[in-house]
Protein backbone atom coordinates (compact mmCIF):
# COMPACT_ATOMS: atom_id res chain seq x y z
CA UNK A 1 0.00 0.00 0.00
CA UNK A 2 1.00 3.62 -0.02
CA UNK A 3 1.90 3.96 3.66
CA UNK A 4 5.58 3.69 2.72
CA UNK A 5 5.39 6.84 0.58
CA UNK A 6 3.46 8.68 3.26
CA UNK A 7 6.01 7.66 5.91
CA UNK A 8 8.83 8.98 3.70
CA UNK A 9 6.95 12.23 3.21
CA UNK A 10 6.39 12.46 6.98
CA UNK A 11 10.15 12.14 7.53
CA UNK A 12 10.87 14.82 4.87
CA UNK A 13 8.45 17.24 6.54
CA UNK A 14 9.96 16.49 9.96
CA UNK A 15 13.48 17.13 8.64
CA UNK A 16 12.42 20.49 7.17
CA UNK A 17 10.96 21.61 10.49
CA UNK A 18 13.88 20.31 12.54
CA UNK A 19 16.32 22.27 10.37
CA UNK A 20 14.61 25.52 11.28
CA UNK A 21 14.60 25.34 15.06
CA UNK A 22 17.07 24.31 17.73
CA UNK A 23 15.91 21.11 19.35
CA UNK A 24 16.96 18.09 21.37
CA UNK A 25 16.37 14.48 20.35
CA UNK A 26 12.94 13.85 18.85
CA UNK A 27 10.79 11.69 21.11
CA UNK A 28 7.42 11.64 19.43
CA UNK A 29 5.67 12.55 16.18
CA UNK A 30 1.97 13.29 16.56
CA UNK A 31 -0.27 12.51 13.60
CA UNK A 32 -4.03 12.46 13.15
CA UNK A 33 -5.65 9.90 10.87
CA UNK A 34 -9.37 10.01 10.15
CA UNK A 35 -11.49 6.88 10.06
CA UNK A 36 -12.20 7.46 6.36
CA UNK A 37 -8.58 8.11 5.39
CA UNK A 38 -7.14 5.32 3.28
CA UNK A 39 -4.21 4.78 5.60
CA UNK A 40 -3.62 1.94 7.98
CA UNK A 41 -1.97 3.25 11.19
CA UNK A 42 -0.10 0.00 11.86
CA UNK A 43 1.35 -0.05 8.33
CA UNK A 44 2.31 3.60 8.67
CA UNK A 45 4.00 2.90 12.00
CA UNK A 46 5.94 -0.01 10.51
CA UNK A 47 7.00 2.02 7.46
CA UNK A 48 7.99 4.95 9.67
CA UNK A 49 10.18 2.73 11.83
CA UNK A 50 11.95 1.38 8.72
CA UNK A 51 12.56 4.74 7.06
CA UNK A 52 13.51 6.51 10.30
CA UNK A 53 16.53 4.22 10.76
CA UNK A 54 19.74 6.19 10.41
CA UNK A 55 17.94 9.55 10.58
CA UNK A 56 17.54 11.79 13.61
CA UNK A 57 14.03 10.36 13.95
CA UNK A 58 15.33 6.89 14.72
CA UNK A 59 13.81 5.78 18.01
CA UNK A 60 11.09 8.42 17.96
CA UNK A 61 7.56 7.13 18.49
CA UNK A 62 4.71 7.70 16.07
CA UNK A 63 1.63 8.68 18.07
CA UNK A 64 -1.53 8.24 16.00
CA UNK A 65 -4.77 9.91 17.01
CA UNK A 66 -7.71 8.29 15.22
CA UNK A 67 -10.43 10.77 14.30
CA UNK A 68 -13.97 9.39 14.15
CA UNK A 69 -16.12 9.86 11.06
CA UNK A 70 -18.85 12.49 11.42
CA UNK A 71 -21.00 14.41 8.95
CA UNK A 72 -22.74 17.77 9.13
CA UNK A 73 -26.26 17.94 7.75
CA UNK A 74 -26.91 20.31 4.87
CA UNK A 75 -30.56 20.70 5.93
CA UNK A 76 -30.69 20.96 9.73
CA UNK A 77 -27.01 21.55 10.45
CA UNK A 78 -26.77 18.74 13.01
CA UNK A 79 -23.65 16.61 13.36
CA UNK A 80 -23.96 12.82 13.15
CA UNK A 81 -21.45 10.10 13.97
CA UNK A 82 -21.41 7.84 10.91
CA UNK A 83 -22.12 4.20 11.77
CA UNK A 84 -21.50 1.42 9.23
CA UNK A 85 -20.71 4.05 6.58
CA UNK A 86 -24.31 5.20 6.25
CA UNK A 87 -23.91 8.88 5.33
CA UNK A 88 -27.20 10.33 6.47
CA UNK A 89 -28.24 12.90 9.06
CA UNK A 90 -29.15 11.13 12.31
CA UNK A 91 -31.52 13.92 13.33
CA UNK A 92 -33.60 14.70 10.22
CA UNK A 93 -32.62 11.85 7.87
CA UNK A 94 -31.36 14.17 5.11
CA UNK A 95 -28.90 12.65 2.63
CA UNK A 96 -27.21 15.94 1.82
CA UNK A 97 -24.35 15.87 4.28
CA UNK A 98 -20.70 16.72 4.14
CA UNK A 99 -17.87 15.02 5.97
CA UNK A 100 -17.00 17.07 9.04
CA UNK A 101 -14.31 14.84 10.54
CA UNK A 102 -12.74 11.56 9.50
CA UNK A 103 -10.75 12.54 6.38
CA UNK A 104 -7.74 13.79 8.34
CA UNK A 105 -4.23 12.79 7.36
CA UNK A 106 -2.23 15.36 9.29
CA UNK A 107 1.19 15.71 10.79
CA UNK A 108 0.35 17.81 13.86
CA UNK A 109 3.53 18.27 15.87
CA UNK A 110 6.71 16.77 17.27
CA UNK A 111 7.82 16.41 20.87
CA UNK A 112 11.54 16.85 21.39
CA UNK A 113 13.79 17.27 24.37
CA UNK A 114 14.64 20.86 25.28
CA UNK A 115 17.24 22.30 22.90
CA UNK A 116 19.24 23.71 25.84
CA UNK A 117 20.02 20.28 27.27
CA UNK A 118 23.63 20.04 26.21
CA UNK A 119 25.11 16.63 25.62
CA UNK A 120 21.76 14.93 25.82
CA UNK A 121 21.88 11.35 24.68
CA UNK A 122 20.10 10.20 21.53
CA UNK A 123 17.15 7.96 22.37
CA UNK A 124 17.96 4.25 22.62
Amino acid sequence: MHEAGIAQHLIEIAAQHLQRVPHGPVRRLNVRIGELAGVNPDSLDFAFECFAKGTELEGARLEVERVPLTVDCGACGGRTAVVDYVFRCGACGAEATRVATGRELEFVSMDTDEPSEEGVRAPD
Binding site: M1, H2, G5, I6, H9, L10, I13, A14, H17, L18, V21, H23, G24, R27, V31, L36, A37, G38, V39, D84, Y85, V86, F87, R88, E95, A96, T97, V99, L105, E106, F107, V108, S109, M110, D111, T112, D113, E114, P115
Partner: protein
Protein backbone atom coordinates in the same frame (compact mmCIF):
# COMPACT_ATOMS: atom_id res chain seq x y z
CA UNK B 1 9.60 18.51 26.53
CA UNK B 2 9.66 20.91 23.66
CA UNK B 3 6.85 21.05 21.11
CA UNK B 4 7.46 21.75 17.43
CA UNK B 5 4.26 22.72 15.68
CA UNK B 6 3.98 21.16 12.20
CA UNK B 7 0.30 21.26 11.13
CA UNK B 8 0.87 19.90 7.65
CA UNK B 9 -1.35 17.60 5.62
CA UNK B 10 0.46 14.41 4.73
CA UNK B 11 -0.93 14.61 1.21
CA UNK B 12 -0.23 18.33 0.89
CA UNK B 13 2.38 17.77 -1.84
CA UNK B 14 -0.02 15.63 -3.86
CA UNK B 15 -2.88 18.06 -3.38
CA UNK B 16 -0.70 20.95 -4.57
CA UNK B 17 0.37 19.02 -7.68
CA UNK B 18 -3.26 18.03 -8.34
CA UNK B 19 -4.30 21.68 -8.10
CA UNK B 20 -1.64 22.56 -10.70
CA UNK B 21 -2.82 19.78 -13.02
CA UNK B 22 -6.43 20.91 -12.58
CA UNK B 23 -5.54 24.50 -13.40
CA UNK B 24 -3.60 23.49 -16.56
CA UNK B 25 -6.60 21.44 -17.72
CA UNK B 26 -9.08 24.19 -16.84
CA UNK B 27 -7.21 26.77 -18.88
CA UNK B 28 -7.53 24.60 -22.00
CA UNK B 29 -11.10 23.54 -21.21
CA UNK B 30 -10.04 19.88 -21.12
CA UNK B 31 -12.33 17.54 -19.22
CA UNK B 32 -10.49 14.87 -17.21
CA UNK B 33 -11.89 11.67 -15.75
CA UNK B 34 -10.14 9.24 -13.42
CA UNK B 35 -11.21 5.63 -13.97
CA UNK B 36 -10.66 3.40 -10.96
CA UNK B 37 -11.50 -0.13 -9.83
CA UNK B 38 -10.06 -3.29 -8.34
CA UNK B 39 -7.70 -5.24 -10.63
CA UNK B 40 -9.61 -7.14 -13.29
CA UNK B 41 -12.92 -5.28 -12.94
CA UNK B 42 -12.77 -4.26 -16.60
CA UNK B 43 -11.33 -0.75 -16.80
CA UNK B 44 -9.43 -1.35 -20.04
CA UNK B 45 -12.31 -3.32 -21.56
CA UNK B 46 -14.71 -0.49 -20.71
CA UNK B 47 -12.38 2.06 -22.30
CA UNK B 48 -12.03 -0.09 -25.44
CA UNK B 49 -15.81 0.07 -25.85
CA UNK B 50 -16.36 3.59 -24.57
CA UNK B 51 -13.60 5.67 -26.09
CA UNK B 52 -14.63 5.17 -29.73
CA UNK B 53 -18.03 6.67 -28.77
CA UNK B 54 -16.38 9.69 -27.16
CA UNK B 55 -13.77 9.98 -29.93
CA UNK B 56 -16.54 10.47 -32.50
CA UNK B 57 -16.97 13.93 -31.07
CA UNK B 58 -13.96 14.76 -28.94
CA UNK B 59 -10.21 14.50 -29.18
CA UNK B 60 -9.45 11.95 -26.47
CA UNK B 61 -6.10 11.26 -24.82
CA UNK B 62 -5.35 8.52 -22.31
CA UNK B 63 -2.86 8.35 -19.46
CA UNK B 64 -2.49 4.71 -18.55
CA UNK B 65 -1.21 3.73 -15.12
CA UNK B 66 0.21 0.30 -14.45
CA UNK B 67 2.74 -0.97 -11.95
CA UNK B 68 4.75 -2.58 -14.77
CA UNK B 69 4.29 -3.30 -18.46
CA UNK B 70 2.38 -1.70 -21.28
CA UNK B 71 -0.21 -4.34 -22.21
CA UNK B 72 -3.19 -2.05 -21.46
CA UNK B 73 -1.65 0.92 -23.27
CA UNK B 74 -1.06 -1.27 -26.33
CA UNK B 75 -4.71 -2.37 -26.28
CA UNK B 76 -5.90 1.24 -26.13
CA UNK B 77 -3.37 2.49 -28.72
CA UNK B 78 -5.17 0.23 -31.23
CA UNK B 79 -8.08 2.67 -30.99
CA UNK B 80 -5.85 5.24 -32.68
CA UNK B 81 -5.78 7.57 -29.68
CA UNK B 82 -2.70 9.06 -28.02
CA UNK B 83 -1.85 6.92 -24.98
CA UNK B 84 0.86 7.73 -22.46
CA UNK B 85 1.99 4.80 -20.34
CA UNK B 86 3.07 5.53 -16.79
CA UNK B 87 4.70 2.73 -14.84
CA UNK B 88 4.38 3.39 -11.16
CA UNK B 89 7.12 0.93 -10.21
CA UNK B 90 6.30 -0.10 -6.68
CA UNK B 91 3.44 2.35 -6.17
CA UNK B 92 -0.09 1.02 -6.09
CA UNK B 93 -1.76 4.13 -7.53
CA UNK B 94 -1.19 7.11 -9.79
CA UNK B 95 -0.43 10.33 -7.98
CA UNK B 96 -0.59 13.91 -9.16
CA UNK B 97 3.19 14.34 -9.46
CA UNK B 98 3.61 11.13 -11.48
CA UNK B 99 1.10 12.28 -14.08
CA UNK B 100 2.20 15.92 -14.11
CA UNK B 101 4.48 15.71 -17.17
CA UNK B 102 1.97 13.63 -19.10
CA UNK B 103 -0.80 16.13 -18.28
CA UNK B 104 1.53 18.91 -19.40
CA UNK B 105 2.00 17.16 -22.76
CA UNK B 106 -1.74 16.59 -23.12
CA UNK B 107 -2.64 20.23 -22.51
CA UNK B 108 -0.09 21.30 -25.13
CA UNK B 109 -1.51 18.87 -27.68
CA UNK B 110 -4.89 18.80 -29.38
CA UNK B 111 -7.16 17.27 -26.74
CA UNK B 112 -10.64 17.86 -25.37
CA UNK B 113 -10.93 14.90 -23.02
CA UNK B 114 -8.31 13.22 -20.86
CA UNK B 115 -8.87 9.78 -19.39
CA UNK B 116 -6.70 8.49 -16.55
CA UNK B 117 -6.82 4.73 -16.24
CA UNK B 118 -5.61 4.23 -12.69
CA UNK B 119 -3.79 1.24 -11.25
CA UNK B 120 -6.23 -1.50 -10.23
CA UNK B 121 -6.76 -0.98 -6.51
CA UNK B 122 -9.75 0.04 -4.38
CA UNK B 123 -7.76 1.62 -1.56
CA UNK B 124 -4.88 3.88 -2.54
CA UNK B 125 -6.10 5.62 -5.71
CA UNK B 126 -9.06 6.97 -3.74
CA UNK B 127 -6.70 9.01 -1.57
CA UNK B 128 -4.76 10.64 -4.42
CA UNK B 129 -6.39 13.44 -6.39
CA UNK B 130 -4.90 13.73 -9.90
CA UNK B 131 -6.63 16.97 -10.82
CA UNK B 132 -9.54 15.24 -12.57
CA UNK B 133 -13.08 16.60 -12.88
CA UNK B 134 -14.78 13.30 -12.12
CA UNK B 135 -14.00 9.84 -10.89
CA UNK B 136 -15.71 6.83 -12.41
CA UNK B 137 -15.39 3.52 -10.63
CA UNK B 138 -16.17 0.03 -11.79
CA UNK B 139 -17.42 -2.76 -9.55
CA UNK B 140 -17.71 -6.10 -11.32
CA UNK B 141 -20.32 -8.59 -10.18
CA UNK B 142 -17.64 -11.21 -9.51
CA UNK B 143 -16.22 -9.04 -6.71
CA UNK B 144 -19.21 -9.26 -4.36
CA UNK B 145 -21.87 -6.77 -3.36
CA UNK B 146 -20.30 -6.05 0.04
CA UNK B 147 -17.56 -3.85 -1.40
CA UNK B 148 -19.05 -0.36 -0.83
CA UNK B 149 -18.82 -0.75 2.96
CA UNK B 150 -15.33 -2.22 2.71
CA UNK B 151 -13.91 0.53 0.51
CA UNK B 152 -16.12 3.51 1.40
CA UNK B 153 -13.67 6.21 0.36
CA UNK B 154 -13.58 4.95 -3.23
CA UNK B 155 -17.38 4.95 -3.43
CA UNK B 156 -17.45 8.47 -1.92
CA UNK B 157 -14.99 9.71 -4.54
CA UNK B 158 -16.84 8.25 -7.51
CA UNK B 159 -19.36 10.35 -9.39
CA UNK B 160 -20.50 7.33 -11.39
CA UNK B 161 -20.54 3.68 -10.41
CA UNK B 162 -20.42 1.21 -13.29
CA UNK B 163 -21.59 -2.27 -12.22
CA UNK B 164 -19.70 -4.31 -14.79
CA UNK B 165 -19.81 -7.90 -16.07
CA UNK B 166 -23.61 -7.98 -15.86
CA UNK B 167 -23.49 -10.86 -18.38
CA UNK B 168 -21.95 -13.00 -15.61
CA UNK B 169 -24.65 -12.16 -13.06
CA UNK B 170 -26.49 -15.51 -13.34
CA UNK B 171 -23.26 -17.29 -12.42
CA UNK B 172 -22.79 -15.34 -9.19
CA UNK B 173 -24.59 -14.63 -5.92
CA UNK B 174 -24.08 -10.90 -6.48
CA UNK B 175 -27.12 -8.79 -5.62
CA UNK B 176 -27.16 -5.62 -7.71
CA UNK B 177 -29.84 -4.21 -5.39
CA UNK B 178 -27.72 -4.74 -2.29
CA UNK B 179 -24.60 -3.36 -3.96
CA UNK B 180 -26.37 -0.21 -5.14
CA UNK B 181 -28.13 0.23 -1.79
CA UNK B 182 -24.79 -0.05 0.08
CA UNK B 183 -23.10 2.27 -2.41
CA UNK B 184 -25.83 4.85 -1.87
CA UNK B 185 -25.53 4.54 1.92
CA UNK B 186 -21.92 5.58 1.45
CA UNK B 187 -22.68 8.09 -1.29
CA UNK B 188 -26.33 9.18 -1.42
CA UNK B 189 -27.51 9.98 -4.94
CA UNK B 190 -24.57 8.19 -6.62
CA UNK B 191 -25.27 7.60 -10.32
CA UNK B 192 -25.19 3.93 -11.31
CA UNK B 193 -25.01 2.23 -14.71
CA UNK B 194 -25.26 -1.55 -15.18
CA UNK B 195 -22.90 -2.62 -17.92
CA UNK B 196 -21.25 -5.47 -19.70
CA UNK B 197 -18.22 -4.90 -21.83
CA UNK B 198 -18.89 -8.25 -23.54
CA UNK B 199 -22.48 -7.57 -24.60
CA UNK B 200 -22.21 -3.79 -24.80
CA UNK B 201 -24.97 -3.29 -22.23
CA UNK B 202 -24.79 0.13 -20.55
CA UNK B 203 -21.83 1.46 -22.55
CA UNK B 204 -23.93 4.11 -24.29
CA UNK B 205 -25.27 5.21 -20.89
CA UNK B 206 -21.75 5.64 -19.55
CA UNK B 207 -20.88 7.67 -22.65
CA UNK B 208 -24.01 9.80 -22.16
CA UNK B 209 -23.10 10.43 -18.52
CA UNK B 210 -19.63 11.60 -19.58
CA UNK B 211 -21.09 13.74 -22.39
CA UNK B 212 -23.25 15.55 -19.82
CA UNK B 213 -20.23 16.14 -17.59
CA UNK B 214 -18.11 17.32 -20.54
CA UNK B 215 -20.89 19.73 -21.50
CA UNK B 216 -20.92 21.16 -17.97
CA UNK B 217 -17.16 21.67 -18.03
CA UNK B 218 -17.11 23.20 -21.51
CA UNK B 219 -20.05 25.39 -20.64
CA UNK B 220 -18.06 26.72 -17.71
CA UNK B 221 -14.98 27.26 -19.87
CA UNK B 222 -16.83 28.28 -23.05
CA UNK B 223 -14.90 31.47 -23.67
CA UNK B 224 -11.38 30.04 -23.71
CA UNK B 225 -11.93 26.40 -24.77
CA UNK B 226 -10.65 25.20 -28.16
CA UNK B 227 -13.33 24.03 -30.62
CA UNK B 228 -14.35 20.34 -30.67
CA UNK B 229 -12.57 17.94 -33.04
CA UNK B 230 -15.36 17.91 -35.56
CA UNK B 231 -18.04 20.54 -35.49
CA UNK B 232 -20.10 18.54 -38.00
CA UNK B 233 -20.47 15.76 -35.41
CA UNK B 234 -22.55 17.86 -33.03
CA UNK B 235 -24.82 15.65 -31.01
CA UNK B 236 -28.54 16.06 -31.81
Amino acid sequence: MHLIDVQTGLLANNDAAAAENREMLRRRGIYAVNVMSAPGAGKTSLLERLLPLLAARWRVAVIEGDIVGSADAERLAKLGLPVVQINTGNACHLDARMVHHAVHDVVHGPSDVLVFENVGNLVCPAEFDLGEDDAVMLLSVTEGHDKPKKYPLMFRRAGLLVVNKMDLLPMTDFSVGEAVSAARDVHPGLDVVRASCRTGEGIAEVAAWLERRIAVKRGAAASDAPPPASSSAEKG
